[in-house]
Symmetry: C2
DNA sequence: ACCCTTGCCGAAACCGGTTTCGGAAGTTCG
DNA sequence: CGAACTTCCGAAACCGGTTTCGGCAAGGGT
């Protein structure tokens, strides 16, 4: 026997607890491993009485199959993969906890687990994804925040690895997805503002590479059209995902010769920046400037006035994504796994009838900036 | 052959791609599997030349060992477990993304993965933890937010499963940990306020069950003592973790006959509630009421004035926790795996010399409430 | 020249399951 | 009553690795 531990970098399991194996169950009953395995996995060639005896014995002895031992033969580790892109500062934060909770809960319900990884860049995400695929750490993947052209989709599609998107994409072939109808929400937001009497309604989009941004902007334009308001490209603000950039974007819109009296935001966080922009100018949100946003972040409730927004249930999204993905892994065709859910309007105080017309607002802003 | 798929609930892997196995590498070189395995795992009884040949061939053929196939013999799945408690609304949110990023990054660096799960209640967490242990889905666990008496610790200790705490606990036997010295931060916050001239300094603690709360409150009291200010139990506010409860807690403190002119908060979120409380009363944070908090949430930077706080680098915490845990799993004694790191002071505008004495503040508040 | 190490690697068992194959009983049917 | 099916389960191979054991050849000591 050679002394191995000197060079070998890793060693034996700390706890080599005598776990009950399938052989123990078999011995206890005087049957073979294969019978136990088939009984527990619901094969039809096992007598019902035997199946009962076996499952009771397994229960009694506290037998738990080892997922990775099964995996070696079945090729299935019973795990869902989730690779998150965590860039510098901003992004998906607020929902993350709930989203993960949803995913893991639905996975647990089927006795699956979730393998999570992160990367900072898009290519980093791709590499990580491929590493997990290579080592088969997960049987399928959830792809959050899909983009119009998504390299993750391409990579997984090419390798024939099951996946589901949280979001949509340009080329839907072979794609399963769950998504929130952000376009409907933005259309509703716009018509709502129009029926309150607004005619200068702006829109501040989110990150341009994402599919949802295109859809939400599209919804805004549909809303405009439905209300008979002509589209004015000047009223599309700078893309914003954070409070800070939302502030900047709003400020720019208010500096327009014909400033908007209402703004729809693709993202709550950006809308929260509008509060600051308004406050700086002595304007009150919901009176001088109406705002409707999208996401449903908790801070929106505590803003003053409360932010009217279309909330998405990200926990539920996580749950649906997990169970759809499990179905996908089990063989359901992707075309049958496409779900869209509405966002729900949370009416608070940030929208109301225009107190000033665009022209009045403009002159008020101009007089102020002279001070 | 029987038709099985009718009853069996799950079936074959979707993609049975011909992956290259250790046998392929062995055949390619005319050696045996065992030689390849030992060469790749750094056993000393393999000639250096052979090792080189083998590792090059493995590289060339694109061989990646299957973690779960290794696990069946080694008992190690190369995965870290993380069970999060996601309660109703509030809690650990802001750091979560960075924290997870840190954990997964350090794990990836060693070619490990992270298995994540969530539960809503403490007992749910325990059950989930035990399920993961039973099925050996992870080789060890990271326990965030440890409490003075923590049932997770007890459960894992009893089963001899490696773990590391993010935080400390009452009985440290067999425990490894990484933690931020919140007590030092709160002491520094208090002495800082004292040296600015404050004498009525309050403290709003966090969740009482957590170890960190006890430590931070203790730090506050040490700071008081160092400044020669007697401790007044009235100045310990109601425990707060959210903006809303921070508002309430601050309001209660300001209603005191001798209100504090400065407040230390165990948690940023709660401190953000103080802004609201102050605004309602026509008070300005950093002038009439000074505030220093702890955590370093991004919103603090955008508050007006910016929140002075002791920031914790939760990403780095995640990294350290992951690498310490891996060491623990590899056999290092827990006593050698205990790290404490300081929080770093971020000076912004929420603290300053008292503009009013406590008595003046009280009378101003009283006159106001009459209106 | 002989024995004893030592270095290096092959053969085979093993880990904990799943799956194939075939055969012994029991049933059905002509 | 015998042949042909069914039903049900055992034996053994298999999955992709790791680890034990032993043996051969080269090297070293006397």
């Amino acid at each position: 026997m050679q002394n191995v531990s000197a060079t070998k970098s890793e060693f034996r399991p700390v706890a080599n607890r005598s776990r009950v194996t399938i052989a123990d169950v078999a011995n206890d009953l005087g049957v073979t491993k294969s019978t136990v395995s088939r009984a527990l996995n619901g094969y039809p060639d096992i007598a019902e009485a035997t199946r009962l005896r076996i499952s009771r014995a397994a229960e009694r002895l506290g037998y738990r199959p080892l997922a990775h031992a099964q995996a070696i033969r079945t090729g299935r580790v019973r795990s869902l993969g989730l690779v998150l892109q965590i860039d510098s500062e901003d992004s998906a934060r607020p929902f993350l906890a709930n989203f993960i909770a949803g995913v893991t809960q639905a996975a647990s319900a089927e006795n699956w687990t979730v393998t999570i990884a992160t990367a900072e860049t898009a290519t980093g995400v791709r590499e990580t994804l491929l590493r997990l695929v290579e080592e088969h750490k997960a049987d399928g993947f959830i792809l959050p925040r899909t983009m119009l052209q998504d390299e993750r989709v391409a990579a997984l599609r090419a390798r024939n690895v099951p996946f589901i998107m949280f979001g949509r994409t340009e080329d839907p072939t072979g794609c399963a997805w769950y998504d929130i109808k952000g376009e409907d929400a933005m259309r509703a937001a716009t018509t709502r503002l129009a029926s309150l009497g607004h005619t200068r309604i702006a829109h501040v989009p989110g990150g341009i590479e994402y599919t949802y941004t295109k859809l939400r902007t599209q919804g805004y334009r549909e809303g405009l059209q439905a209300a008979g308001i002509p589209f004015d490209p000047d009223l599309i603000g700078a893309p914003s995902l954070t409070q800070r950039s939302g502030d900047a974007s709003t400020s720019a819109l208010l500096a327009l010769p014909e400033p908007p009296t209402a703004i729809t935001f693709a993202v709550d966080r950006a809308a929260l920046g509008a509060y600051r922009a308004a406050q700086t100018r002595g304007l009150r949100i919901g009176e001088h400037v109406s705002v409707i946003a999208y996401d449903g972040v908790p801070e929106g409730a505590y803003a003053d006035p409360g932010l009217t927004t279309f909330a998405v249930n990200s926990r539920h999204a996580g749950e649906r994504l997990a169970s759809l993905l499990i179905k996908r892994i089990r063989g359901t065709a992707p075309e049958e796994l496409r779900e869209l859910a509405p966002a729900t309007l949370v009416e608070r105080g940030s929208d109301g009838p225009p107190r000033l017309t665009s022209a009045e607002l403009a002159s008020r802003l101009k007089s102020q900036s002279r001070i």
